[in-house]
């Protein structure tokens, strides 16, 4: 039974020290990533992980379309219509990285879905997707690492629509944030959405990469 942290009856921290104690297992917890790593580990060799994660709907699926889910009754008519979802793989020529405009590249939408509603935000955040080619140096080791989900800066994605035949996988890179105006992003080409489990893996990695705690840092902050 999951803990309902909105339920104020059980324990409300009485001071800042207690507040920290309540948050320490939640704010910087890496349990989710450990679960993913253990799952990948028991699958066997890298090619077995490739086969599982490359199945249709395993990590990625066709873009989820608002009109379709509305028609199926999966979203209420009074909820905000969406154009994009968090984790969608898109291509756009209107995104910038350190002042340079990115061209001919694919991205994953890092901004939460609820912030992708038109006019709700001015800007959105993207993460770049880099192709893995069959002739890349050390391609086997690269794929081996990615499919163990042990990296703190990368996530494996299968080949995507429009990928040339020599691309045998993709790498969602968390090292470096790409920025885009929300209005421009909403006109991007949608290539794929993440499956439910793909979205959970993505969310776990984003959270862990942005906020993870080392013992030293905890010790330092609690002592100075």
């Amino acid at each position: 039974m999951p803990i309902d942290y909105n339920d104020s009856t059980p324990t409300v921290p009485k001071n800042l020290a207690e507040l920290e104690a309540h948050l320490q297992a939640l704010s910087h917890d890496d349990h989710a990533v450990k679960i993913i790593q253990n799952f990948a580990k028991v699958l066997g060799k890298t090619n077995q992980r490739q086969r599982l994660f490359n199945e249709k709907g395993a990590i990625v699926r066709e873009p989820i379309i608002y009109q379709d889910v509305l028609h199926r009754g999966l979203i209420a008519p009074d909820e905000d219509p969406f154009i994009l979802l968090q984790g969608d793989i898109v291509s756009t020529e209107t995104a910038y990285f350190l002042g340079e405009r990115m061209t001919e590249m694919k991205f994953a939408v890092a901004t939460s879905t609820c912030d992708l509603v038109p006019d709700r935000r001015q800007y959105a955040t993207l993460l770049r997707v880099q192709p893995i080619k069959k002739d890349d140096p050390n391609v086997k080791q690269l794929l081996g690492e990615l499919l163990k989900f042990t990296s703190t800066q990368r996530m494996y994605l299968p080949p995507l629509p429009n990928d040339p035949s020599d691309i045998i996988g993709n790498d969602l890179v968390f090292d470096g944030i790409v920025q885009v105006r929300l209005d421009d992003l909403l006109m991007a080409t949608r290539l794929a959405s993440l499956s439910l489990v793909g979205w959970r893996i993505f969310g776990s990695l984003v959270r862990t990469i942005m906020a993870r705690a080392g013992d030293t840092e905890v010790r330092m902050r609690s002592s100075v």
Partner: protein
């Protein structure tokens, strides 16, 4: 070092097919859109107005260039204001300001773009020699391959 390239290929639009009614467009079907690519756009006349049809990739490129035009316009505005100040008060300070403004705009109109990052390299040097990895594209499943997708005409 990252590879930095300038997106210098000219972007030209050419008029292609033209339909004088929606019905005419409908009866010709999706096949008639085949020629709309690589800068060729089509014109559709209907009772509600005239519309241009542009291929997705061309649209994305045009939108990207429009963003650069916005960037450029902001820079030019600063430059033209600076020139006016220099005309009004031609002294060392204002001339230096003009030089600085021109230098800031850099190599106009070649705004920096980038179409790739450094190649990916493994994070660890400890290779697992017993590992088995599919690198033959014929063995790698492509879950969203358009060839296997069902698309409506």
């Amino acid at each position: 070092m990252p590879t930095i390239v300038n997106d210098s290929t000219p972007f030209d639009l050419k008029v292609g097919s033209k339909w004088l009614s929606f019905e005419k467009f409908r009866t010709e079907g999706a096949k008639s859109l085949d020629s709309i690519k690589n800068g060729t756009i089509a014109i559709l006349h209907t009772k509600t107005g005239q519309y241009r049809i542009i291929e997705e990739q061309d649209f994305q490129r045009m939108l990207g260039l429009a963003r650069d035009v916005d960037r450029l316009r902001r820079g030019l505005r600063v430059l033209s204001r600076t020139v006016r100040v220099v005309q009004k008060h031609p002294d060392t300070d204002t001339i230096n300001l003009l030089i600085e403004a021109v230098a800031t705009l850099g190599t106009l109109p070649d705004l920096p773009t980038r179409d790739r990052f450094e190649p990916l390299i493994p994070e660890s040097l400890d290779a697992d020699i017993d590992d088995e990895v599919d690198v033959d594209p014929d063995l790698v499943a492509r879950p969203l391959d358009l060839k296997s997708a069902t698309l409506e005409d």
